[in-house]
Subunit: 151 residues, 2 copies
Amino acid sequence: MSDETAGNEIENRFGYLLKHVQSRYQQLAGAALEQLGIDGKQWAVLVTIGSGEELSQQEAANALGIDRTTMVALVDGLEDKGLARRSRHPEDRRKNIVELTTDGRRTLERARKKVAAAEQTFFAPLSSPDIDKFKTALRALLRGDEQGRYE
Amino acid sequence: MSDETAGNEIENRFGYLLKHVQSRYQQLAGAALEQLGIDGKQWAVLVTIGSGEELSQQEAANALGIDRTTMVALVDGLEDKGLARRSRHPEDRRKNIVELTTDGRRTLERARKKVAAAEQTFFAPLSSPDIDKFKTALRALLRGDEQGRYE
DNA sequence: TATTGTTATACTCTATAACTATA
DNA sequence: TATAGTTATAGAGTATAACAATA
């Protein structure tokens, strides 16, 4: 607090903090995933379709909160890399089931480790209990209700 | 933990949490600012040029971490609304000093209150001490060093 | 008629390159 | 030569509209 400057107010704006913290996280996670030849969005798709449930493209898109038209190119990219596979749903031939290939499963596991390592770097400034509190707070803020409140 | 579903892993991914929490914040703050006819970026510019220091366009851009070419349209918009004013720097005529008009100052103060109210809504799921801890954690994570660590 | 995947298209956001004026 | 502001342009990212296949 001793060297307060004009920039201080800007940098303490909550919107600024959130934006730049997210930017730092994406940078770290992105660099980790780059070693496996995928980006953050593709990683999110891998996690989604590797979750155990059989998902159509649209269901996977919904789970990620993106448009089904956006999902097309994402799955294209993963298919080109040999990490995911499309197949017709046997009972509803309009749907594409999207699933991991063997390579995709292997990449997913490697990516988990890379991302976990990146998160360790990201969270280095916080103690273990503070990391837990931080994540709990995020989940409560996302729900937007008062379930997480205990004062 | 009783109704664990496939979506659970996705929604607990840290990247997902951060992205959607930011999205919720922007939605709330954006809706608050919309009542004053400005958006989040214009609000950030108002805060910057209202900080007390005399700033050129480029200096304001740097303070916000955006490009000087992007700043042009932002200042254009604020000038059109009568909230900001360009004037030549007396000692270096290449520079534009950007400052608030009387209306701009008034809008800035109104916006402060609107944003504060929006943040109150945003943070409703957390207790007061938890809000402080959350903000402290964000600042530590942004610095990226271990200054905030005390375990 | 409605839905899924797809394509084409448009829109937003932002950065890069090039120009003008000033230094 | 270098810098500040500006403009034109291009690229990434994503959404909307329209179409084919299927329900």
